[in-house]
Symmetry: C2
Subunit: 204 residues, 2 copies
């Protein structure tokens, strides 16, 4: 069933009745994207929340010098949208583009807000998801202050092996805040060194 993964994810934190799940599914549609196709472009309004059934996407900010800064990646089981645009009803600041052919489950913000008012049990799912995201963002902020480039690269590879395998290395470099040249140096060093000698000292 096309919404099976979506429902399995919801069920991890929220208990909806069968009727509520059926009603939620009636609000969902499937969207497909070809590789390199844009889901959202900066300046647009983010009117939907997306769940990744298949594929891989990249969120990036394009600065005034034309440099792309990656801020987020999404693969199967992840959600993707511009939370800034959605929360503050403002034009989106970022671009979201498919790195592979994608199949997404989507729900409009209006339908989602109205469903949340109707079924408070679903609030729990989003509360826990957002809390986890905030905690992860906080950890990333502290890592920028506490780890050097090599340590952050090793942490990323260990924590997100799936992303490391599927996402072009230049995009990971941008996500970690490296220039491509700095990243090449780090990668060469990492290939020579024994990865086990790098302690994952934040333990997360």
């Amino acid at each position: 069933m096309k919404f099976e993964n979506f429902l399995a994810t919801i069920r991890r934190h929220a208990q909806l009745t069968e009727a509520e799940e059926k009603r939620l599914c009636s609000l969902l549609t499937i969207k497909t994207l070809k590789r390199k196709e844009f889901l959202i472009r900066s300046g647009e309004d983010a009117r939907h929340e997306y769940f990744v059934n298949k594929g891989c996407l990249r969120t990036y900010y394009l600065d005034h010098k034309g440099v792309e800064h990656n801020t987020y990646f999404a693969v199967e089981g992840y959600w993707v949208s511009d939370i800034y645009s959605r929360t503050f009803n403002a034009p989106t600041l970022c671009n979201i583009v498919a790195l592979e052919d994608c199949e997404l489950v989507h729900i409009s913000n209006i339908a989602l807000e109205s469903f949340l008012e109707e079924v408070p049990a679903l609030e729990r799912f989003f509360r826990i998801s957002y809390q986890n995201s905030l905690a992860t963002v906080h950890l990333k902020q502290i890592q920028l202050l506490s780890m050097n480039g090599m340590e952050r690269y090793h942490y990323f590879r260990k924590k997100y092996p799936e992303l490391d395998r599927r996402i072009p290395q230049k995009h990971i470099a941008s996500y970690l805040g490296f220039t491509p040249e700095f990243f090449n140096t780090i990668r060469s060093k990492a290939m020579r060194a024994d990865a086990d000698t790098f302690s994952d000292y934040l333990g997360a």
Copy 2:
């Protein structure tokens, strides 16, 4: 009443019955802190969620060189805790210290989690709070890429006049990622210039 501000904040997003509010209040206690006293020290477990009734607090990460990096400020009506420690049951990475004498409402994480299971209506309050925080963090991340130091300083002063007034400027400098020297240069320039000429171009 000592929980009046707390309840007024909750009511902005969640509708609890009178009995539920009464039950919630029975789980709350008041904690006071003197100026310079610590609420949490790094390495401890964050076992409570705090709401500021009165006063002002600063969250910071202390790096291995002994430099403090401010990550968050809280005044009346704000919440404060270490979300990383609370979410992942890990020792806290940061320190939280009182900048003024404080009165805090606090609830233990265990009591809060159990109340949320009992009263899903409260999930809505935290879902919206965390969503707003995530959107704000995302905006700050983009500002670091899109604005120069002067623009970020003006944005902060305009967006948070209360924090600008009450928090020592050296702490604001650390929050904005400036060295004290760089901040002094920027502040002198800002005092000479007409603040109106700096466009708040993210419009938030």
